[in-house]
């Protein structure tokens, strides 16, 4: 029931040396199965508007959909929030002859957008990941640790990142990003690239 739906932080926002926004309710489906199966690949493509099964640590996008590599047998399919139940059901249907699991996890997550030239630095304060421009590029996704919790990060544009964490720690992750984006705390190591 869409009129009941609220995201974890109801669109919280902060403007520091980058812009931080909670992205609102996003659709997400955990899909586990055999990536090499033709049926599996076809099912993913059909549900994700043609976005294919990504390679290790990659994310593919098409239209409103994205498919992210999570592990050798797990994908995360992203779509508009309202469509997640139907798409999960469609996947389950398409894969009914396979050993696979498709489950709607949209509400288990909180999603944040970081926009601005300093986004790489904000994330590098929290995640043990090389965010240098030459090392982390659009099309990649990293599942990692953000301070004390699990998170996944990928780029949505040349200067923008999307962060996904568990819903219960949304306020913590927002607090981390807010603290790391405080004006005056710019690091300046990625500035000249």
């Amino acid at each position: 029931m869409s009129d009941h739906v609220t995201s974890a932080l109801a669109g919280a926002a902060f403007d520091g040396f980058v812009q931080l926004r909670e992205a609102g309710a996003c659709g997400m489906i955990t899909l586990r199965g055999d990536f090499s199966s033709a049926v599996f690949q076809k099912a993913v493509g059909e549900v994700a508007e043609g976005a294919g099964v990504p390679k290790t640590r990659q994310i593919t996008t098409a239209g409103d959909s994205a498919v992210a590599w999570m592990s050798p047998d797990e994908l995360l399919i992203m779509c508009p929030h309202a469509e997640a139940p139907a798409r999960a059901a469609a996947l389950a249907q398409a894969l009914s002859g396979e050993h696979a699991l498709a489950v709607n996890v949209s509400d288990a997550r909180a999603v944040f957008d970081l926009t601005g030239a300093g986004s790489r630095e904000v994330l590098a304060k929290l995640c043990p990941v090389d965010f240098a421009p030459g090392a982390f590029k659009q099309g990649e996704i990293r599942r990692t640790r953000m301070a004390q919790v699990a998170a996944a990060v990928w780029m949505t544009g040349p200067d923008s990142f999307r962060v996904v964490c568990f819903r219960s720690v949304a306020a913590y992750v927002f607090g981390l990003l807010q603290a790391s984006a405080q004006p005056g705390s710019e690091v300046g190591v990625f500035a000249d690239t």
Partner: protein, 1007 residues
Amino acid sequence: MSTRLASGGRLIDRSKQVQFTFNGKQMRGHAGDTLASALLANDQMMVGRSFKYHRPRGIVASGAEEPNALINMGEGARFEPNQRATTTELFNGLVAQSQNHWPSLEFDIGAVNTYFSRFLPAGFYYKMFMYPRAFWKHVYEPFIRQSAGLGRAPKQRDQDTYEHFYHFADLVVIGGGVAGLQAALAAATAGQSVLVIEQTADWGGRAPVDGVADDSTIDGMDADAWVAQAVAKLDAMDNVTMRTRTMGAGVYDHGYLLAYERLRDHAPEAKGPRHRLWRIRTKQIVTATGAIERPLSFAGNDLPGVMLAAALRDYVVNYGVSTGDRTVVVTNNDDAYRTAIVLKQAGLEVPVIIDARPEGGGALMAKARDMGIRVDTGRAIAKVKGGKRVTGVQICAQAGEGSVLEEIPCDAVAMSGGWSPVVHLWSHCGGKLIWDDAQAHFRPDPSRPPTGASGEGFVIAAGSANGALALDAALADATAAGVAAARAAGGTPDDAPPPKADALGEAALAPVWMMPQGANIKLRMKSWLDFQNDVKVSDVQLAAHEGFESVEHAKRYTTLGMATDQGKLSNINGLAILSDALGQPIPVTGTTTFRPPYTPISMGAIAGEARGEIFQPLRRTPMHDWHDANGADWEPVGHWRRPYAFVRNGETVNEAVMREVRNTREKLGLLDASTLGKLIVKGPDAGRFLDMMYTNMMSTLKPGKCRYGLMCSENGFLSDDGVVARIDDDTWLCHTTTGGADRIHAHMEEWLQTEWWDWKVYVANVTEQLAQVAVVGPNARKLLEKLGGMDVSREALGFMEWADGTLGGFDARVYRISFSGELSYEVAVPASQGRAFWDKLMEAGKEFGVMPYGTEALHIMRAEKGFIMIGDETDGTVIPQDLGLDWALSKKKEDYLGKRAQQRSHMTDPNRWKLVGLETVDGSVLPDGAYALGNGVNENGQKVMIGRVTSTYHSPTLNRGIAMGLVLHGPDRMGEVLDFPGTDGKTYKAKIVSAVFYDPEGEKQNV
């Protein structure tokens, strides 16, 4: 007196005045000063009292090695003790106070200790404070606490912020002197990413200061000009990152490096974090960390006004500050002559250079003599005269025992005992040292570097940090180090020759560990090795005499090198004295261990962002804010916060709990059960898998039905419990305890990935996808029926069944399960709808008397029913059989995790304590965790225990104390009364009863 000179000072800006206070006294300095240089400019020679004897102490050094000038910095929320004045940049409004004195710096009562110093030798505390034992707590410890020194602890919360930064670089060069810069230039040609860090605010290190004395040049430029162009070149390279005020703090395994950036110490009012801890991964580290000058051990070498020769020169050249008008230079090497030359150039007096070497020095000595400075060779200082500052020196022959030949008035002494490479970072991760006889110091052994994952070295020392003390040698060594590091990191650097250095050559030094060589005990007792911990030559000799032969033992016995400076000035001198006392060469004695950090780093930097609201993650359910606004008394459950009770105005927490239990039993209660773990288990082998995971049979469960299940570890111990629902043919949903969700998910994955990797099962953790509300009480059905949309009647949805549907407009899955013994439903909705659903239940439930209840009411109600709680009735040593849960152990299954373990003799022992109910005879509440006493004592003389309380509450339903406990032969002893001594001195009497206190027939839930 010490003062600001009329000119000079390459680091200060004389046009910018800076105000600060020291011990409340207004003082002035210049932009670019350190606190130490500004104090000296204001004739503040004495800056503190020593740790043990409270002797007056002055500034000794000009950098990170400073042992004496430790300052209480700042006030209130910016107060911080033990800050080194030499590494504190001056800023407007700086407030500093000296430490370790009472009532004042000038007049200190503790200084009386110095007269008793004969009675406070090494190991004094160990010898003195042993007996009688009872004295320790009431006499010795308070006394030692009172007199033990250094700074005060801050009282207020730190107002600044801190952060971490994860950085990745192919190469890191630590140290921004000429060697570090040259190493970076040589390495950076390979195009790899290079990080260059320098602990001070300025690039260049010592070379610009030294160059003033001997007019040395690099590539035809003076050192300042060469440094400026080198920094400009590196700055212009895209692959090079340069940071000043950033110290290499520690080197760890696999190229992990911590660097400590001090961003706002010099500008505390500026926005942004005060410190940043860089957590760096790199392939190769070049340590161009320089060298530290050693003091000489002569009597009175700790008086204010006695300073390291190079530091004294630094204050003149860098800050335009003179330490005294008449400075005696005492040395065993050529470098100290530079100080004499610089002083003379600045128009100051150098009455004599005392050179312990019989032959004296080389070109620098000649230059000093040409300037008219008297040089006495083969001489030593017998004793420094003065009280709170130097007034003169007595000169003797170095070869003798200290007969005074001459007394020379002076107000400063510049001492140099040679230079020791800063090998700390090289050594942190296992790099080994070799003794360099010619230069009388330990330096890195290039054949035994710290090794990384590949077995190859990942640290290369460069310049004076590698023992290459002379300018030309340092630059050549740094060039080679930079090239080698780039190659080792997989790059191909250009092969360019090192820059051409033109400097005066130096004659060899002569090792001098004691001055004079045959100093008598009176002199040795006034010859300091460790200024900060008040350790003298005589103390180390005593330690050796008393059998502390290992350097590590001697260190701990004397406390040599154990102060906040970790012996940067004292270690080599101390172990030389120890070696001499033991009659063995220095390398045989070896060094103590170098441990990170290089100098102390702030607690704030270590914590980083983790403070206040983001100290640790708090997990919140979708209804968290409602709870918070409605009186929730929070209880931590894992990282979750759950309402313990919802407290109303005028109520105590306990009253709220009692009300919540009664209301739920009589009317209607709501519990936020969202935190319960929910795992989807799916696949053709899921049933078989769950039969292994749980002790009961799950494969036979019908879709639409629920079953309570137990999980054990492979050792048979009860690990988790919960209700399992079968969703469809190959899908189950397993509820876990709140704290168990992640653990049980990992447990399942571990078995699937390591043992049964060929079973077709997928597990997904959907705990946070769903908000779950327990709707409990006689009115529960009425509320759900009012919401409408699903048939929740007894007939349509029986006990231990579930159904999907739309309830009051919400996407819902309704379970008919009960953990309270009442008519009860648990309703799961998508988390995004959780808050709206909760609001709807509260609104619609008004007419049925709805109230939320918290975890304590939940606990009481389950205990009234005799339901176990993981973590209360279990503690990792309890098996289901102990709890009377044999009914949940399938006899039909060939195996389940824990089955075989539960057949071990100890597990089937009839003497295992078993679960029973306990009822106090007088209706009071048994103390939690209390033990039941048996007869007699065991083999250890302890009273025999025959049981313990696992859960205990006041039951508002029964209006009496109820408890559960594990008791020896408990189920066979119904009606027996046991004694439970409490920690309050009382003994509680409780009768053994059935654990099911309430509605044993289950009539309430089955309606």
